[in-house]
Symmetry: C2
Subunit: 474 residues, 2 copies
């Protein structure tokens, strides 16, 4: 009865067509990897910030909790309702307008529901680069990117989503609108509320719009693919690349031999360079963005690779001759998750370690896993430039995937995350905590930090209605 009254109120606010309660709502109610299936009281799709505020006020008055949602492409179950049938999914996809593009200030203000790719394209049409780039860019929204502080492939040059944002508009858990939109690059007037909301995964309020940085488009972008003799060599190459390309270095991805072999096996149409090179346990993909010209970019890249060959940290390398070849090389890197899925079930990790400690971490953890699970297959790849590895564990050949996961997943996670902690790393580099890893947060985060986080949650959302169970356990 109380629920019916709330639904009527919500229909009044956003219009009956935008309060979904019937039919197939699985796109909203289950997570991207289809591991968690929730049930919402309703999916509400407001069309304006005022409507979001009114929805939150109505829910707060009715003591009904809210799960904010963008493209619902997150990998940590941070935007999926629980199974109670009592939560409101507040989906922001209808709010996708460009509010302002300020060319002289190099900023763009957009609503939270804008799809990342649309934002990239809007920037490009105006002659600018919006550098955030990640696998889900065709479906994820900038609001979700902000909520999870998404990373991606250009972080080593442009930073995470956090570093790309200058200001936010937020609806608080009380249904107040905070207009923190700002195109200012310097503003030291009080506590940094912006960065508190960024990465809070909808648990402190709802991001409804944001002012993001734009960059000049590079004149040329070149891609190279290099075979390296060890992870140590890959880290040495990273140092050389920083020194010789400086801010031109916009991508530095590492791929283990087994990860590449899965691409060779399942995507035979892709030509993987150095796939047969026995002494190259890893390959590295480098991207060099140049503000001058392609000729200049190529000369700088070739100079770097010559130095690296001399040093021995590179065994062999190719530089893409044109954009089509560059796309092919990136396509190899981006195909690894799909090749993994083709091969069968696997256990994914999204970890980060200081670059300097990655070789020791990998040697240590590879050995532990080999001892614990004879025949284990490690799909190790990721954004080495940021110290971020997707250190995944593929089911051993011939074993039943479901049985393996049931028996080993917890043990593997504990082994990997314990090693990460031992090396001073993070168990969630770019995917966030969500509901999936809330237990890991309690285990691996310092008690002092946890206590401060709980105090902040309690201070801003005393009723506990914003995405309960996400980041902090209930």
């Amino acid at each position: 009865m109380k629920q019916a009254a709330l639904l009527a109120q919500l229909r009044d606010i956003v219009g009956a067509a935008h309060v979904l309660t019937d039919g197939d709502l699985s796109a909203y109610e289950q997570d991207w990897r289809k591991r968690v299936h929730g049930k919402a009281l309703a999916v509400v799709r407001p069309g304006s910030t005022q409507e979001v505020a009114a929805v939150v006020k109505a829910c707060a008055a009715a003591h009904v909790s809210i799960v904010p949602q963008g493209g619902n492409t997150g990998l940590s179950v941070g935007s999926t309702p629980d199974t109670s049938g009592e939560q409101i999914v507040l989906n922001l996809q209808r709010m996708h307008a460009v509010r302002q593009l300020d060319a002289d200030n190099l900023t763009i203000t957009v609503e939270a529901g804008m799809v990342l790719q649309t934002l990239q394209e809007t920037a490009a049409q105006a002659g600018f680069l919006f550098p955030l780039s990640l696998a889900a860019e065709g479906s994820c929204t900038i609001g979700g990117n902000l909520g999870t502080n998404a990373g991606g492939t250009q972080v080593l040059r442009y930073g995470n989503t956090r570093e790309l944002c200058l200001g936010l508009e937020v609806v608080t858990p009380q249904g107040e609108i905070w207009d923190g939109l700002s195109g200012l690059r310097k503003d030291n007037t009080g506590y940094d509320l912006r960065d508190l909301f960024i990465g809070s995964e909808g648990s402190l309020g709802i991001i409804t719009a944001a002012t993001m940085k734009l960059f000049p488009q590079p004149a040329a972008q070149l891609t190279a693919f290099a075979a390296v003799p060890s992870m140590e060599a890959a880290v040495r190459l990273l140092g050389l690349a920083h020194r010789h390309l400086a801010a031109g270095l916009t991508g530095f991805e590492v791929m283990g031999k087994f990860a590449l072999s899965l691409v060779v096996k399942h995507m035979p149409q892709l030509r993987v360079p150095f796939a047969d090179m026995a002494d190259a346990p890893y390959c590295v993909l480098l991207e060099n963005s140049d503000s001058e010209s392609e000729t200049h970019a190529r000369a700088r890249f070739e100079h770097l690779l010559e130095l690296a060959l001399e040093d021995g940290c590179v065994l062999d390398a190719v530089v893409a001759e044109n954009m089509a070849q560059a796309h092919e090389l990136w396509h190899i890197r981006e195909s690894i998750p799909l090749a993994q899925a083709e091969e069968g079930l696997n256990i994914k990790h999204d970890i980060s370690i200081q670059a300097s400690r990655i070789p020791a971490f990998v040697a240590h953890t590879d050995a532990l896993l080999q001892r614990a699970i004879p025949g284990v297959r490690l799909v190790n790849f990721g954004h080495l430039g940021d110290g971020n590895l997707h250190y995944n564990v593929q089911v051993p050949e011939g074993q039943d995937g479901k049985v393996f996961l049931q028996e080993k997943e917890d043990m593997v996670n504990t082994l990997v995350y314990d090693a990460v902690a031992q090396f001073g790393g993070s168990f969630s580099a770019e995917h966030g905590v969500g509901a999936l890893k809330a237990d890991k947060l309690v285990h691996y985060k310092s008690p002092v930090a946890l206590q401060m986080m709980r105090a902040i949650k309690q201070a801003l959302d005393p009723q506990g209605i914003m995405n309960p169970g996400c980041i902090l356990q209930r």
Copy 2:
């Protein structure tokens, strides 16, 4: 009596030599600009994080409030005790060790009391750049830079202090140690406590150490000085420079004609280019850092300036022939505050506006001030690349400075800050709020933001002992 007991406890913790109660303590008790003179119960100089924690616990138990202090060079009275004689100044200058320099990870971990210039030099000796650079660098500490999120001259390329920091060690208002030191570039495990402490000016806890980013040293750095026909032209030049130098653009400072005339008048030994050019109301100083060579840097710079001359946004320009000349050009820019002081009293502002709106803001506010104060002299200069102006008001010629300030300072501040607010800017771009501008925060910040700030302060420092009256009014 209770105070005597606390002092005895503090002497036990840090040693009697480091609890200062007698003699001339003005270096600790008055602010940098000598406008505010406080009186502390004692100045305590702990030598380790553990000592800081013990001092805080003792003060918390005695309900005595703490003013954290680094080099005490702040411009907003954020590290000066009140006049009660009941506060503890907790000075961190004895904690200045390098904890770790990680060349492969491009990070350095240092204690909060390290002087900024020492940090720059430590980085340089290891072959790296630590890019934070500002006038007080010989005395200010990195802890103070973090507490105030200091800006400086290279923000447009490297960001504010916030963007240079990867992790913090903090002593909480309860005297707990939070070890949030981290060399990770990606870590999405819960709320962003780091950025909450950065810029909180010691009002939420005490930063005791930090992990900061290092960068490769540029191969060459060139400086140019350009005369421009208007502020609009300066903004157009900024856009051109972004497009053609990209990340090479590491400095973009604007200087008004009157500001430069004060340098000519009071520092006759400095040769100011274009000082007599009648049609150039502003000059711009540009810095170009190059990862390749000086020859390359010069070619790029000359290309840019040719385009700018063609465009008309530059009337004339010189590029420094060598480092000595480059220092001379920077010295002109850096001499403006001193030349101002030589000329007499003045009212300082540290504001930011979107670059695109600065020409309109300046035209609007110049006119308002001229109307309000016939003969007013505007010393307008600053980091245009970040939208940050030091828009200062010099006492009209022939008037008594003290009388002018007494009669006009409030009116001038209100006029300028109202205009800043109207143009969507900030009344404190890089100097912070401190006690000096806490009333401005209440006036110009959104009530929703203020409410959240107060809730956070209450949540983390319920006793209210950390730097009371700084940022948030008591």
